[in-house]
Amino acid sequence: MTSEGSVLGMPEKEGKHVKLIIAAIKPFKLEEVREALTAIGVRGMMVTEIKGFGSQSGHTEIYRGAEYAVNFVPKVRLEIVVADALSDQVVKTIRDTAKTDKIGDGKIFVLDVEHAVRVRTGETDDDAL
């Protein structure tokens, strides 16, 4: 349990850094990715159904000859916060599992997280994960 003071002070503590990994993947790959991440020790993630476009840039639907370009393709966005040390392994796991080798497999972004707090206990940073 960290003291209240350190929340504001943000002291640099060795081994306490956490990363936010944002990944947009194909919806049907979600379950596979979740299993693989759980297997390497990821203990939580946030999942959102999103729409967007990248290089896949949509598809065409035809209704009685009327063609409609669907510009925003459904994807699933994962937000995973992990300790620094686990970050590279998470990225590799997502890449390996979500890959279909076809266009539109998605993107992964890794960001530094300033601070993390567990609501119930007040634990911070990687203790909060």
Binding site: I62, R64, G65, A66, V70
Partner: protein
């Protein structure tokens, strides 16, 4: 089956018992014989309870086609912001037409006038109709209660204007749709129903075959739909925005209800539950199955995937085409009819319509209009014995074909002119179209103050 055979046996037994009774009577007194002979000579019209039951069920089946069948079929095809507007227009048009029908529609169509163009005013407010009034069927000496005939025909008058709304879906004022339906019903539907189905009607006397309403219902509505989308114009964002159907599930449910309800429409048009009715029934199955398969096959060949919308479209096209034909063609003719109508309608809605650039939003003209014309014309061909139809050696195919074409042309011109004038009248008084902001926001909230779906 065994039970039926036994009953038939009992019937035959009792018939022979009754037949033998006059013989005893003759032996008794000469006077009694005379009385019995007189009674036998006098033809008493027979009201068969089987016919009455079937026609009551048929009437309800046609209602089921409209609500919820047609409402869901069309509703699934629009964007979710306009779902309720379609359900409301279909429901309320049907109700308005039911009231109009008993007030003057029945009289204008079947009021007993000898005019070839309309039924006159003798039965306004159903005057003179009682529970004992009877209407003729197709078999001499067999009748059904007139109330039942009124109700059965009423369900046709209720669904036909509702068919039209698909052409200008997602952009019209609710009040304008209702006003147009009443005008169009009065001046197009009622006269054409008289012309085709009344014994004094112009096309009936000319010998046109329209068993269940290919001209009266489908061509009539299809033309009104085409004129409507031309007068009203395209939807805002047509050709740019994504206007894909919001629920193919609803559309499939609705199309299937149409198919089920169509047995009331087609088979009920026989007015009796007999062999002729079963011919209409098998044809309504077979033509529809063939048309559905054909549409799927064309899509499979043309673009590699058979779509649900394609199957539903083929289903409705087949039902439309077999409507005028179902009482006189045979099941093998029905297969050919189903194949042909899907080929033509597919080509029409996927190519011709897009080249011409008008916005018949739910393809009312492309499927009901074109499918109705194909059905009406080919009825003249497939009714011949050579194609398995019921018409015998004395059947003159070419002259029948000419009468069929005459019926189609009269309906196109009549409905076209009446529709154009009716749309213009409504536009000048109520205004046909909502403004573009309202249209973008969707008719559910702006016309009805509700939303179909809450997230």
């Amino acid at each position: 089956m065994k039970l039926q055979t036994k009953l038939a046996g009992l019937g035959a037994l009792s018939a022979s018992l009754f037949a033998s009774m006059p013989v005893w009577a003759q032996e008794a007194t000469a006077e009694a014989t005379e009385v019995v002979a007189d009674a036998a000579a006098e033809v008493v019209p027979v009201m068969d309870k089987g016919d009455v039951s079937w026609m009551m069920i048929s009437s309800v089946l046609v209602l089921f086609m409209t609500v919820p069948g047609l409402a869901l079929f069309y509703g699934g095809l629009v964007r979710s912001k306009n779902m309720l507007s379609i359900l409301m227009q279909t429901t309320v048009i049907a109700c308005v037409m039911m009231i109009v029908w008993v007030v003057y529609g029945y009289s204008f169509s079947f009021g007993g006038s000898t005019s070839p163009w309309w039924g006159g005013t003798a039965k306004l407010f159903l005057s003179g109709v009682t529970v004992d009034s009877m209407s003729a069927t197709f078999s001499a000496g067999y009748v059904i209660p007139e109330y039942l005939f009124i109700v059965f025909q009423m369900t046709f008058a209720a669904i036909t204007p509702a068919l039209i709304i698909g052409a200008f879906a997602e952009r019209v004022k609710f009040k304008a749709v209702l006003a147009f339906s009443v005008l169009w019903g009065t001046f197009s539907y009622f006269p054409i129903a008289h012309m085709v189905w009344d014994a004094n009607g112009y096309l009936f006397m000319a010998g046109a075959i329209d068993f269940a309403g290919g001209t009266v219902v489908h061509i009539n509505a299809g033309i009104a739909a085409l004129v409507g989308c031309l007068v009203i114009g395209k939807r805002v964002g047509f050709g740019k925005d994504n206007m894909a159907p919001h629920s193919m599930v609803m559309t499939m449910i609705g199309a299937s209800m149409l198919w089920v309800g169509w047995f009331g429409f087609n088979v009920g048009s026989n007015l009796e539950a007999n062999g002729g009715a079963t011919l209409a029934m098998i044809n309504t199955f077979i033509a529809t199955a063939a048309a559905t398969l054909t549409w799927c096959a064309i899509e499979g060949l043309a673009r590699g995937k058979a779509s649900m919308l394609g199957a539903a479209s083929g289903m409705v096209a087949g039902l439309v085409a077999v409507t005028p034909a179902c009482g006189t063609i045979g099941p093998m003719g029905a297969i050919l009819l189903g194949v042909i109508v899907s080929v033509v309608c597919y080509f029409f809605v996927t190519s011709v319509k897009h080249k011409m650039g008008y916005d018949d939003s739910l393809d009312v003209f492309g499927i009901h209009g074109i499918g109705g014309i194909i059905g009406a014309v080919l009825t003249g061909v497939f009714s011949a014995a050579a194609f398995g139809g019921v018409k015998g050696d004395d059947y003159a195919m070419m002259s029948q074909l000419w009468v069929q074409i005459e019926g189609v042309v009269i309906t196109i011109v009549w409905s076209g002119v009446v529709s154009y004038i009716a749309y213009k009248l409504v536009d000048m008084t109520i205004g046909l179209r909502v403004d573009s902001d309202t249209e973008r926001q969707g008719l559910d909230l702006t016309s009805h103050g509700e939303q179909a779906y809450h997230s």
